[in-house]
């Protein structure tokens, strides 16, 4: 299965990205979009799968924001 993923950034002013992944993203995973690293916080299926392709909408947040929220 190929996962075509729309990465949308929560907070900040970053445009996000679109790319194909060979493995389904999971909550907490780190992803690199352009020069920045983000953490996956939500995954939604936005269209029914077609053939070997699944279409996902993934919300991410900057890693710095995730680390600030984590308990010390």
């Amino acid at each position: 299965m190929i996962y075509k993923v729309s990465y949308v950034v929560k907070g900040g002013n970053f445009p996000g990205g679109i790319k194909n992944e060979t493995e389904r993203p999971v909550i907490g995973q780190k992803v690199r979009i352009g020069p920045h690293t983000f953490e996956v916080i939500e995954i939604l299926e936005i269209m029914p799968p077609r053939d070997d392709f699944q279409f996902l909408h993934v919300t991410v947040q900057p890693v710095e924001a995730a680390e600030q929220k984590a308990p010390s």
Binding site: V8, F14, P15, G16, G17, N20, G34
Partner: protein, 148 residues
């Protein structure tokens, strides 16, 4: 030349048989870019379709004031230049490599269109897949807070 097995991971080619993929693979060539290299510039003629095989590119759009802003990053499997292919207009954005070794498969637009016209089954599949890709990109833009 892109191999048909790699092309199967690209939605643009969804539904094409191995034989049809081999036909498409003959049309283009691989190009490798380093960070900051410009693949194409906004308002230039849209004479190539690019498929990202490896790495990432940044899509930058210049607004009416002349300021350029980042619209989206596209990674492996994504298509660039399909708008100019469909409407024969100029490039809608500037495309810049965002990673060293970003590799694209570049197909001359006129060759792409010629194949679609001579083999209408391939043409239907490619145009259907382009329409679905544009739909996906619109959905990304509609849900992206930074595009508000």
């Amino acid at each position: 030349m892109a191999t048909p097995s790699i092309m199967k991971h690209v939605e643009l080619f969804r539904g094409l048989s191995d034989e049809q993929l081999a036909q498409v693979a003959l049309l283009g060539q691989e190009e490798v870019y380093q960070t900051g290299d410009i693949l194409c510039e906004q308002d230039a003629p849209g004479d190539n379709v690019f498929i990202i095989m490896r790495g990432q590119v940044e899509i930058r759009v210049r607004d009416r004031s002349g300021a350029q802003h980042s619209a989206v990053y596209l990674g492996a499997g994504q298509v660039i230049g399909e708008m100019a292919l469909v409407d024969e207009g100029k490039r809608s954005a500037t495309v810049i490599a965002a990673e060293d070794g970003t590799t694209v498969f570049s197909i001359p637009s006129d060759e792409f269109v010629r194949l679609c016209k001579t083999d209408t089954h391939i043409g239907y599949l490619l145009m259907r897949n382009i329409a679905q890709d544009l739909s996906f990109k619109l959905r990304h833009g509609n849900t992206n807070p930074s595009s508000d």
